[in-house]
Symmetry: C2
Subunit: 155 residues, 2 copies
DNA sequence: CTATTACCGACAACGACGTTGTCTATCTTA
DNA sequence: TAAGATAGACAACGTCGTTGTCGGTAATAG
């Protein structure tokens, strides 16, 4: 026997739903030639955006230190997803930009997420899925990038 | 401008919903005398259960190594949430049990989660919330403990 | 024009938390 | 009774976050 009230289920289901989508995304990304993409990378590359950014800026966007952002950028650079170049107008800055390979991951992710969403719609119905999204929008914050994921779950 | 298809929003909203609930849970737990409880602890203590368990068993339940489970148990022990005792019938085993202090966290968590759920119901409606839970149940796995959280999000 | 201040990126040291590997003690089984 | 399996402790290591420090460049105040 264990303590098991109704309120415990809601956060768990939300997390499991998230996990299912992310896991299936990355299984499919691996099949499509991106076996080294990790859940974090997608968020980071979204945060980098099309215009590019710097380590300090990225750290602020993601809510981590500039050093942590720098290390993540190094990883993405090693995987070929981003590249760095000196800013000619401010030689202190190094601008991080998505490579075509990085844009490819984002584009594929977008299509895969749309497919996964369609599969959910097929299971629970299109209207119910739209309701679900609308309801979640009402109870969650608007700022989408400050996930503060790193170490947040740690013991 | 950034790549921003409809499919990207669903996983994000699910995660943010989860985050909102967990963050508010721990803010309230801190107010109620449990400032050191971390998100992971609740799941682990749920996994330990009323009858208790061992490090090896716990590791299997949570999907981590027995060493990692042992370290988590040490942390919980230091916080006074669990205690260990030798199994008289198998002196190799050390049984981990919740202390009354540990049971207290779980009981308070249960009430807080119920309150948070009620607040969601007040915002989106009770029926819509029940629909949301029912729909999520349809698209998520049944095994609830294998979160495989540790390091899963890492870059 | 110059001196101070602010900012960027790199490097080092550290802590938290996961992993694998090894070891001893104990239980189980052939 | 001997061999194998299992529990838990200990150590070493890797990853990823943190803070602190530093040199180089930009912006700004006097």
């Amino acid at each position: 026997m264990s303590i098991d009230p109704p309120g415990f289920e809601l956060p768990l289901r939300l997390f499991l739903g998230f996990r299912v989508l992310i896991d299936e995304l990355h299984a499919e990304l691996a099949r499509q030639g991106h076996p080294h993409a990790r859940p974090m990378h997608g968020f980071v590359m979204q945060a980098i955006g099309i215009e590019g950014t710097t380590a300090v800026e990225l750290g602020r966007t993601l809510g981590v230190s500039k050093q942590a952002a720098g290390k993540t950028i190094e990883t993405l650079e090693r995987l070929g997803y981003v590249e760095r170049a000196r800013d000619p107008r401010d030689t202190r800055r190094k601008i991080v930009r998505l490579t075509p390979w990085g844009v490819d991951v984002l584009a594929r992710s977008a299509r895969i997420f749309d497919d996964l969403r369609a599969r959910w719609a097929a299971v629970i119905g299109d209207e119910r899925l739209r309701d679900l999204e609308a309801d979640l929008r009402k109870v969650t914050p608007q700022d989408v990038f400050r996930l503060d994921v790193p170490g947040w779950f740690g013991a």
